[in-house]
Symmetry: C2
Subunit: 204 residues, 2 copies
Amino acid sequence: MVPDVSSIPEPLLAIAKPQPLTAGDILFRPGDRVRDIFAVETGRLRLMRYGADGRELTLFVARAGDILTEAALFAQTYHCYAIAEVASQAIAIPKVQLLNYLQSHPAQMMAWLERVTQTVQQLRTRLELRNIPTARDRLWHFLTLSVPVGERECTFDRPWKAIASELGLTHDALYRALAALERQGFIQRRGRWVRWLDYDRDRR
Amino acid sequence: MVPDVSSIPEPLLAIAKPQPLTAGDILFRPGDRVRDIFAVETGRLRLMRYGADGRELTLFVARAGDILTEAALFAQTYHCYAIAEVASQAIAIPKVQLLNYLQSHPAQMMAWLERVTQTVQQLRTRLELRNIPTARDRLWHFLTLSVPVGERECTFDRPWKAIASELGLTHDALYRALAALERQGFIQRRGRWVRWLDYDRDRR
DNA sequence: CGAGTGATTGACTTAGATCAATGACCGTGG
DNA sequence: CCACGGTCATTGATCTAAGTCAATCACTCG
């Protein structure tokens, strides 16, 4: 199967080094020198770091096609861990060559810029999410963001526990919030599968 | 005085339209078509929006020299309000011309990209901050981020109330946290001025 | 001088964190 | 093949910290 890293231009793909990973492998850790920019061909990587108080923060979950270190392009060292959540295949593109390539291909650089700009929007959305004070409303908002437009159900590819940490909740609180939403008839669920029963966000 | 928008290249400054604002003026609101990219020459603008539950979220506080809508470069419409917090002078650069200029000046585009990438880092730092559960620790972390390296004191240019909302706290909680830090001998303060008394972050 | 905002603190309420216990499921090795 | 250890899922009891409500004071601005 052709790798689905469509966002990376051909000539760079040509020089990319494949990087097979098994679940739990650490691709890089804070302090490591940034030599390469990585993308995910298959599987799932998680970018996370430990906050000042020791609790962990998930920065980003990269799936097939995602570039995971766009933000490291101008950095000397990484500031987070990259951990394979499942067996994955990553590719590494030497940073210097990437920079040179972009310099001489403005259209590609523009595309890259657009992607980074999107990241900014996503992070702001996440900040907005974090601004919602109650677990139930936060989860509800997250769920409505997660369901593809027009769809009425979706199945998450990672445990609720992971989602809890993305939302800044303990897993306990998350399960309770899930139970509340189900009890109140907003959603129906089985394991990681969720169906929306009510689209009226204003209802309490 | 020469406008301190050093990050914007000369030719673009030449075509920038000045935009004087008095305190409280709204430069744009959600839904407005993105025609221009704005930068702040003098004063202070705040980017904010209302979350799903009606509470307000400050996305960014732009000061002299800052570009406030980097993330809007590829957007059709704005997704937030831009409000002058004090009398300010902004400049507007037509988006299309900016895009064209960047396309044909790779070095400038690279600089722009670097700036957006920095924004990503900052947002992640903010997200990390929000991950800290207690008001006191969150505030403490924020304060240590706010003081210039090597300095032992700083004076904030905006009310604590605004800082509270940046931190995702009610102003009540913030004042209490401030009082606690002062009582415990970590800081000393008078109004918006703060001095650090203890740099040992591990101490409780 | 009165209105509005920021600053500050107390009393009360509540929602989430913490602790704890249990069951389901899954892969692994004896 | 099954016992065992690990992670995920789930729920109850308790505690605590932040939100909410409320009152007061200082300050600025027209």
